[in-house]
């Protein structure tokens, strides 16, 4: 054989060997390889509001209640519960036989300790704590929650899906609220393999063999959590192009948050399925700074309503018209039980002259409006750019100040005047059932200094929200929602700047993916 042919034969041999190795690696098994939207860094679900830690929580821990697809809280760890006639005592009995990952039984005392730990951190938990008189452990499986006054959101609070009340062993939950929990001992359907955790790269969860699922079929976040996989590997791949290639090549099974630009490409691939598991979707929040003139005046904030063109925002930020609503004027999300369009009329069609007039009445004198533009969040950047163009059309001077999100998240929390690093407007997003609740929608909260950055302040809004929390009649509650939203469009804590959907993508041999609002890993099987 000639030397050139020999070399070609050798190269071909090496390539074939690599191809064989690669094929062996991609072999099917009961391990789900999922690329998640962020790196799992924090293992304490009460320490942070980040979605990734919340999702970790649902693998490792369980909750007393969980929402069904009608957004009603259903018993999860709880077997039965009752409410006293005076609505001041809630009695909960746990399901029998539940154990933690360390083999210890789940007791009522664990639940009480977990609730006490959680209510310090969570906003809805804090509201529950305000009306709580005491907890009482009756026996190993039963505990009571005693209230100072009737409160209509006890079960909703215990079943909230974002930063929920995860149940931990008493010895862990008893730690002070200032101390970050670093253990991963829950009673959830999966156990974390701490020895395989590589921050920045991989987190591994294996089936918890002693988990006892409920007998009902899975429904949103409630029902039986039947695990059909042996192992779930969370991979963190920061580059979306690489993740896309890995999914198409079959190296991974599940892509939790494919960029919306990729959706059409993925839909065209017969080996891949695209599914929207969250019918509520994600809401853009356009937040004016209540401390910065002219937005310290309600007319200044109302002026922004006349600059809104949600479809234009969605075209820029999302692109694919199948993935957004052309218009949604509901503060508490379209498709939710609290949807109402009351008060949103000014946002239906831009009126630049009206916007300019309201701004002038609010004291605007031609100064530059500072918009914070996050360079590393393309969707936010697109929305800010559309807003900047609308402001300019209305004859408003705009100063777009770019920075990475980390910098903006610090800057937005500073109350400095504009000439000392302050700002007028920033944009963020929120989603899920919490957004749909007037009390859990943190960006709607208008408690002045205690509110989120932007510090909305409306003494008339807070009593309406409090009345909603106390009301137990569904029809009256909805009337209150309408009043709350109508008032919201007067004081304008923020502007709902559009609603879109973030589907997931997975290989077509993956079955049983639930439309649970957020990715969960029970009921999934790999064929």
């Amino acid at each position: 054989m000639k030397p050139a042919k020999t070399w070609l034969a050798r190269i071909a041999g090496v390539l074939l060997a690599f191809a064989a190795l690669n094929g062996a690696q991609a072999a099917s098994d009961k391990t789900l390889r999922a690329v998640v939207h962020a790196d799992l860094k924090i293992l304490d679900p009460t320490w942070t509001t980040t979605y990734i830690t919340n999702r970790y929580g649902y693998l490792v821990y369980d909750t007393l209640f969980a929402l069904n697809s009608k957004f009603e809280p259903r018993p999860q760890m709880v077997d039965t519960y009752s409410v006293s006639d005076d609505k001041l005592t809630y009695s909960f009995t746990l399901r029998k036989g539940m154990t933690f990952h360390d083999g210890q039984p789940v007791r009522a005392a664990d639940c009480v300790a977990s609730l006490k730990h959680w209510v310090v951190r969570d906003m809805m938990g804090q509201m529950l704590a305000k009306v709580t008189a005491d907890y009482e452990v009756v026996d190993d499986l039963t505990f009571r929650l005693k209230l100072k006054e009737p409160y209509g959101l006890v079960i909703d609070t215990l079943g909230k899906p974002a930063t929920p009340a995860f149940i931990m062993p008493e010895r862990i939950a008893s730690k002070p609220a200032t101390e970050q929990i670093t253990e991963s001992i829950g009673s959830g359907p999966f156990m974390m393999k701490r020895d395989e955790w590589r921050p920045g790269n991989k987190a591994v969860f294996v089936k918890f063999a002693n988990y006892i699922p409920r007998s009902e079929p899975p429904d949103y976040m409630s029902g039986g959590k039947i695990v059909k996989l042996d192992r779930v590997e969370w991979l963190y791949i920061p580059d979306n192009n690489t993740t896309l290639s890995a999914l198409m090549a079959g190296e991974i099974d599940y892509f939790e948050a494919p960029p919306l630009d990729f959706i059409k490409l993925l839909q065209e691939n017969s080996d891949i399925k695209v599914l929207n598991i969250d019918k509520l979707g994600v809401q853009f929040v356009l937040r004016p700074n209540f401390l910065a003139p002219p937005f310290d005046n309600f007319k200044g904030r109302q002026a922004l309503l006349y600059l809104v063109n949600q479809e234009e925002v969605m075209q820029a930020a999302v692109g694919n018209p199948d993935l957004y609503l052309k218009f949604c004027g509901a503060y508490f999300l379209c498709n939710s039980a609290n949807e109402t369009q009351i008060g949103s009329e000014p946002m239906r069609k831009p009126d630049y002259a009206k916007a300019k007039q309201l701004l002038t009445e609010a004291g605007y004198k031609g100064e530059k409006i500072v918009l914070l533009l996050p360079t590393d969040r393309p969707q936010y950047a697109a929305a800010v750019t559309v807003l900047g163009a609308a402001l300019r059309k209305a004859g408003i001077a705009v100063d777009m100040q770019s920075a990475d999100w980390s910098t903006i998240s610090v800057r937005r929390a500073r109350k400095d005047p504009i000439d000392k690093g302050g700002y007028h407007i920033f944009i963020t997003t929120q989603g899920g059932p919490d957004t749909a609740s007037p009390v859990a929608n943190t960006w709607f909260g208008s408690g002045c200094d205690k509110a989120n950055p932007g510090w909305p302040c409306d003494p008339e809004l807070e009593p309406l929200v409090t009345a909603w929390t106390r009301e137990t009649d569904a029809a009256k509650k909805h009337e209150l929602v309408e009043k709350i939203q109508a008032r919201g469009y007067v004081s304008v804590p923020y502007i709902p700047y559009g609603q879109f959907f973030q589907p997931i993508a997975f290989r077509s041999n993956i079955k049983g993916v639930l439309e649970s609002g957020q990715p969960v890993y029970w009921n999934i099987e790999k064929q």
């Binding site: 190795l21 690669n22 942070t48 790269n201 890995a246 980390s406 205690k450």
Partner: protein, 313 residues
């Protein structure tokens, strides 16, 4: 020689202290706050203040610096503000992928660049020389991520003979270990190979014009001996210098390559720590990288003595 090594090692101490001070000040004086990131987008101001206090970020900067230096002098680089894992553990976890990629890249680049550089110098002015130098210009001009995506498309998605991404430790089998390194090393190594081949060519050309080369040829030595024994040995000092300087290029390139190929190495650890403002991790990684750079330079200085008998310390 021993005295030289001791002097050089001791000289690294003030260098490292200056690096430590500059890194600390740059990080803490630049905008960004890990507490805000930990709290999450929906975290309240109260959450942020609580986390900041727990992390000790509300203490005076001078106090934070001296606490860090005090711990550093005891070999403690601290813990990540996010996952509470020791920085030394995080760096150790990331060392194998980065070292494997760096070594694989270096071996690939040097073993190809030096021969083709010699060939180009030997065949100077011919089509072989033009082809090699043309390839070098293209390889040097292409961004690493572009080469990376191109290789992934061709070899992983189209031909399916190599994996798209990831890293398999060597203890899980030599085959998967190597197969995961081929594409990243190729992407990263091409730039490095281009630089080194051009340097080899120009140095060799210079040496090949020397009188002693003419003498070697005149006394009837075969061309291979002239090139490798006489010319290459004398040209090797600048080549070795370029290899050493290329370590810096490699460190920069590793960041991009590790991101494109999802290799959990030091480069990605650095990027993630910077974007998340994980101060102890950034400080630790930069100190270790600086130390590596100083040691590589020391190794190169020592190599000069081996390659050129005239150089003695």
């Amino acid at each position: 020689m021993l005295g030289f090594i001791i002097r050089r090692v001791l000289a690294t101490i003030p260098v490292m202290l200056v690096v430590a001070l500059v890194v600390f000040l740059l990080l803490h004086l630049s905008p960004g706050d890990p507490a805000a990131i930990i709290a999450g987008d929906n975290g309240t101001q109260e959450d942020i203040e609580r986390i900041r206090a727990t992390l000790g970020l509300d203490r005076p900067l001078v106090l934070q610096f001296f606490t860090w230096i005090f711990d550093l002098l005891q070999g403690d680089l601290g813990v990540s503000v996010y996952n509470k894992v020791k920085v030394t553990t995080l760096i150790a976890q990331r060392m194998q992928p980065t070292l494997s990629l760096a070594v694989f890249t270096m071996v690939f680049a040097v073993s190809l660049a030096v021969p083709i550089g010699i060939l180009a110098a030997w065949k100077v002015g011919t089509w072989v020389d033009h082809a090699i130098m043309g390839f070098a210009v293209i390889a040097f001009s292409c961004p690493v991520f572009l080469i990376g995506y191109g290789l992934v498309f061709e070899f992983a998605r189209k031909w399916k003979i190599l994996p798209v991404q990831g890293f398999t430790p060597i203890e899980q089998g030599i085959g998967p270990f190597l197969s995961h390194l081929v594409l990243p090393a190729l992407a990263l190594g091409l730039v490095y190979m281009a630089l080194l081949s051009r340097m080899t060519r120009s140095t060799m050309r210079e040496v090949l014009g020397e009188d002693y080369i003419r003498t070697a040829r005149a006394k009837g030595l075969d061309e291979r001996a002239v090139l490798l024994r006489h010319a290459l040995r004398n040209a090797s000092v600048p080549i070795v210098t370029t290899i050493g300087l290329g370590i810096a290029l490699l460190i920069g390139g590793v960041v991009v390559t590790e991101s494109v190929f999802a290799i959990p190495g030091i480069g990605r650890l650095t990027i993630e720590a910077v974007t998340q403002r994980d101060y102890p991790v950034i400080q630790g990684v930069i100190l270790v990288a600086s130390m590596v750079y100083v040691l590589v330079n020391l190794a190169i200085d020592l190599a000069y003595g081996l390659l050129d008998p005239r150089i003695r310390y």
